[in-house]
Symmetry: C2
Subunit: 189 residues, 2 copies
Amino acid sequence: MPTRGEGNRQYIIGVATRLFYQRGYNQTSFRDIAEASGIPKGNFYYYFKSKDELLNSVIDSVLETMNQRFRQLEAEFDRPLSRLKQLVGLLGEMSDDVMQYGCPLGSLSVELGKNNQELKSSASELFKVLQNWIKQQFSYMGKSEREAENLSLELLAKIQGVIIVGHALEDKTYLLNEIQKIAAWLEQQ
Amino acid sequence: MPTRGEGNRQYIIGVATRLFYQRGYNQTSFRDIAEASGIPKGNFYYYFKSKDELLNSVIDSVLETMNQRFRQLEAEFDRPLSRLKQLVGLLGEMSDDVMQYGCPLGSLSVELGKNNQELKSSASELFKVLQNWIKQQFSYMGKSEREAENLSLELLAKIQGVIIVGHALEDKTYLLNEIQKIAAWLEQQ
DNA sequence: GTCTATAAGAAGATAGAC
DNA sequence: GTCTATCTTCTTATAGAC
């Protein structure tokens, strides 16, 4: 059997990230992750002392991925408006997943809000980091502190709103159209 | 022990409705419902042949409650605009629950979308009924078919957006303020 | 580090006495 | 109709061989 060492840890986190999103945290068992990863479930306790700790590691990993993507957007696009439009474009690329599983950040936050307040706060951190980055982009665009705050919340609410409605109404065309409208709205700011 | 007959059925549905909302469907066990209702869990199978069937009954019951409330709003308020504002006002009254558990319709739809497509469609029905009623109110206000459709979706997306953002950011003040803004937006239509 | 076996308890569901 | 006891399976988690 191959020995991947610490690489195994990251691999487990990657598989868990996907399954937690697609099936929900509570509905994903170590058995599921074991089958999807090919790693016996007994091993998980060598890397994580509990399932909750695995979720915390997943959240940390998602946070890191988010920050990497932010830096990437900052390097690739000079104009903050372009960065925001790119972010919205990403939503369009994820539309199939979004239609089935909802927003990765929003759905996790809501699920954990129902029976795990501690982990819910961790998940909410992701949301706050995203909001802060968006806010900063609006600041770069010359908006005041207050305007940037309001616009960042407005953008987030628009995104979350069309995701839930598209998901619940099972209407992908609606979702795609609304994403276009959000991009157009961004252009006007 | 008291014999409540068919009243028991409705009583179980009522307790389950609340618990499914507060804890999530998958995270609510028959044991939980038994403890909260005082009815032994073995009895549930006399009224419902499975947990999924109980959820279906809950969804049916919520649908009926929604329709009752619609009729009530129609009887109590002549102007369709007043009815819609009242509906938004209801969201404000539920704000504490919404902050903790999210939207009763939206969160259920997202949860079921992750591992129970059949039940998810049933939950989505609730959403569609709500949208249709909202659309009808806009029609009564003189909007065209297309305008009424768009406005109903816009209202729903606004509501869902501020719920998720308020919930994830743990900011009740934001939620309450945004509900006020939605009411003001309604006024302009 | 990796793997198997298994413990301890909770889940949904059923049987059958009353 | 109501209730208890129990079956089966699945869960998280641990023990211990290799």
